[in-house]
Subunit: 486 residues, 2 copies
């Protein structure tokens, strides 16, 4: 009896092993722990197995098997997502793309590169920098995150103000559909194909329409010159106005980042302090790039704009080393919160640029209401806010209050005509908040699109959209929340 029991292995696991090889399937409890969540750690679930296919054919074979057996499944890259898009809810098979990590082709003349989905974002720029090229989308996690994951989430980054988010840099993809069929979307190097823009539809679909197995991206010529400007403000509103003034002056900086006092306290307590004064209310970090003459002129103009807005101090980086230190300090951002708080929740809202002062004021009110500190680090030029809600999970009720504060921040963004996510996606985290910006009809139209590709809802189920049927309930909840805010 004992021997017999030991031999009984889940037949599904055996089938998966037959496709990708025994070593490329994880199914033991202790091996699955690492796949319980992605970068959104507040929600966890257990997968049934994790498989590591080596190529498109193996992905397609795995998907055909899972589709036939009606087993739900999820594609996963590096697992750096911040909204739970790659988190299992229980029982899914995770299709990890990390072994498909080759750079397949670089064509400098037509300015394209072809990569496998598990290829790490930063490696592309590192591989082509010697020839004077780079890949523009630069999420903060770029040293770990994969380009496949970037496409699924339509990832952004500090430099998306001037260069656009992932969707602006993707020219083609090979995709395994949820039934195991393989299609190609887009033509290498041809940005605007006739018919419907299925490539655009796939980008940012958060892993619900297909599994990407190959990607053609646009590469850009490295700008001749760069310049970084740092400005300290004693007043958040003056800093916000400076942001608007810079854009209104016709300058499109490569990056235009803002941090508030709490965020400055955190980054100065973390790994790369650079001596920012701890009493300033807002800090702007601005990068301009282009040809040398243009960059000099724009840096000068930005300094003048800041001075007209009562800046306490504004300076242009003396050299590349100083600029790199300022950026390293900024990029510790989210992680740095650990230096001043046991736990934190990062949110990701978008607002029309002109509403920045008003929205920051409302976020301060939410902080006062809930008794939780909220730091703000954000891509100010795009109006893409990242309120960081600081809390202590050990204190009863604080996690719930943090989630509530996060949701209220998103409501503020939605109410001024903005959005509930700029670059982190909806995933599990913000499903119900989709109702802040979409009507039932609009959500229904999106679900019908999902049904076209993912008719059995096996691929990344229960992500991205609010639960059907719960509408009335959630509307009541939102209404109550609103009343509570009044």
């Amino acid at each position: 009896m004992f021997r017999k029991k030991k031999q009984r292995v889940d037949p599904l696991i055996q089938h998966l092993m037959a496709v990708v090889g025994e070593k490329n399937v994880l199914y033991r409890r202790e091996d699955l722990v690492a796949y319980e969540c992605d970068g959104f750690t507040l929600c966890r679930g257990e997968a049934r197995a994790v498989v590591f296919p080596a190529n498109t054919e193996e992905v397609a074979a795995v998907v055909r098997l899972l589709n036939r057996e009606n087993i739900p499944f999820i594609a996963r890259g590096a697992g750096t997502g911040l909204s739970g898009g790659a988190t299992p809810l229980g029982g899914e098979v995770i299709v990890s793309l990390v072994k498909m990590k080759k750079l397949l082709q670089v064509d400098f003349e037509n300015r394209i590169a072809v990569v496998q989905p598990g290829y790490v974002n930063l490696k592309l720029t590192q591989s082509i920098a010697g020839e004077g090229y780079y890949y523009a989308p630069d999420p903060s996690s770029q040293s770990a995150c994969t380009i496949g994951g970037n496409v699924a989430e339509n990832a952004g980054g500090a430099h998306c103000l001037k260069y656009g988010v992932t969707t602006n840099h993707i020219l083609g993809a090979e995709v395994v559909l949820p039934d195991g069929k393989v299609i190609r979307l887009g033509e290498d190097g041809i940005p605007d194909l006739p018919g419907y823009d299925l490539l655009g539809l796939l980008t940012g679909s958060e892993g619900t329409l297909g599994i990407i197995t190959e990607i053609t991206v646009r590469i850009l010529k490295t700008p001749e010159a760069k310049q970084t400007i740092l400005a300290y403000f004693d007043d958040v509103e003056e800093g916000s106005q400076a942001v608007s003034d810079i854009i209104s002056a016709g300058i499109v900086p490569a990056a235009l980042e803002m941090m508030d006092q709490t965020a400055i306290e955190a980054v100065e307590s973390a790994n790369f302090p650079v001596g920012h004064p701890l009493d300033v209310q807002a800090l702007l970090l601005i990068e301009v790039d282009g040809i040398a003459a243009e960059v000099r002129e724009q840096a000068k103009e930005i300094v003048e704009v800041c001075r007209r807005r009562n800046v306490r101090e504004v300076k242009v980086a003396r050299d590349e080393k100083e600029a790199a230190a300022w950026w390293a300090n900024r990029k510790t951002g989210f992680g740095a919160m650990g230096a001043i708080s046991p736990d934190y929740l990062v949110q990701d809202g978008v607002i029309p640029r002109s509403t920045l002062p008003e929205v920051l004021k409302k976020i301060r009110e939410i902080s006062q209401d809930t008794g939780l500190r909220i730091a703000n680090i954000f891509h100010a030029g795009d109006g893409n806010l990242h309120p960081l809600i600081l809390f202590d999970e050990r204190k009863p009720g604080e996690k719930e209050r943090a989630l509530e504060a996060g949701s209220r921040c998103l409501k503020v963004c939605a109410d001024v005509g903005g959005s509930i996510t700029g670059e982190h996606g909806v995933g599990i985290e913000k499903k119900e908040e989709m109702r802040f910006i979409f009507t039932d009809e609009e959500i229904e139209a999106q679900l019908r699109i999902r049904d076209v590709f993912n008719s059995k809802n096996l691929l990344n189920p229960d992500k991205l959209f609010p639960k059907p049927g719960r509408c009335a309930e959630v509307k009541k909840e939102i209404k109550e929340r609103k009343l509570a805010e009044v």
Copy 2:
């Protein structure tokens, strides 16, 4: 009897009149003639009626009526499209948007404008130029074409090399779905909403998914300086190489246009001759824009690149007046063909930039094969070719040979990894050529998307996609064509 007959008016017309008013419905044969085709004049059909709604509510009411009665219908702007997207095939009701032509809002701080679909493209730039702003997409027909039509076709233009096509400038839309429901896509000023990119899906869907009734567009700051460079080459290949060299040098011109000898002959015979020598084989017209220092430096570099490619003559425009004359001459382009040929057919293919010399050679071979002159005017920087096939409809068989030559040009583009349309759309004209670049599976996926929105296929039926079921036949045809080419 006679009186009775006279009174019998089509009840559908009466219903339409009840919705939009008697004056806003055309139904007499003589009134319908003007709506028999759009800018693609080789195919004509008769509509059942043309209605002119005044607002979204009227559009929705008309659509609800037509949907209920199962009457096919087509949205139409200025009718300047070049692939027959707004052409009736027989019996459709045309919903003309030309009376919905207001500029509803301009918000300089957030850099957006809101327009009705019938608002003329060029008027937007004219309205905001005084404040130092402009709207980037600039189809050659911009003085007549409407922004609603631009969205439907995802229109391009000479300046799309640097600034992108229409889809890159659309931030939101109000849409009447084929069942009469009204939805909003995108949020004013927020480029990247969560969920599927339905706005991107709608853009370029050639009027098959919904009728656009309001559009939010991005407006840009007018560049500080511009400079136009003109270069004459004795060799087409040298000219093509100069195009690649300019891009490889890291310059992204605002526009990079090329004309071949036949095209030069035409524009010099038309309304705005500027004295181009008639014996040059290729002409490049290049515009750079940005801040003054950058523009000067780039113009200098372009001149040097051209010299390295054995340019016969290269010059920078002395002043705005000279630049404007060169551009006016270029913009007579397609129409100018009338000066050297009774009829012409313009095609619209896209190729990877590096294949330009090879493709131009093949187009010359098609010209020799068919005995028809082919002029080339094109957006060389984007690899967007416009072969203009010159013919005389009065000569038996010439029209058919011209259509055949056009299709063969598109096949050449598809074979080098390009596309069958860059900015003119598929419409009626290129439906079967869709098979050059899409598999049955890929076309099927697109038709399933159409079904989500346009389940009865009443909205712009029989456009954009090849006829289902004709696949085997057309494949045979393509194969025969290929054999004929060998």
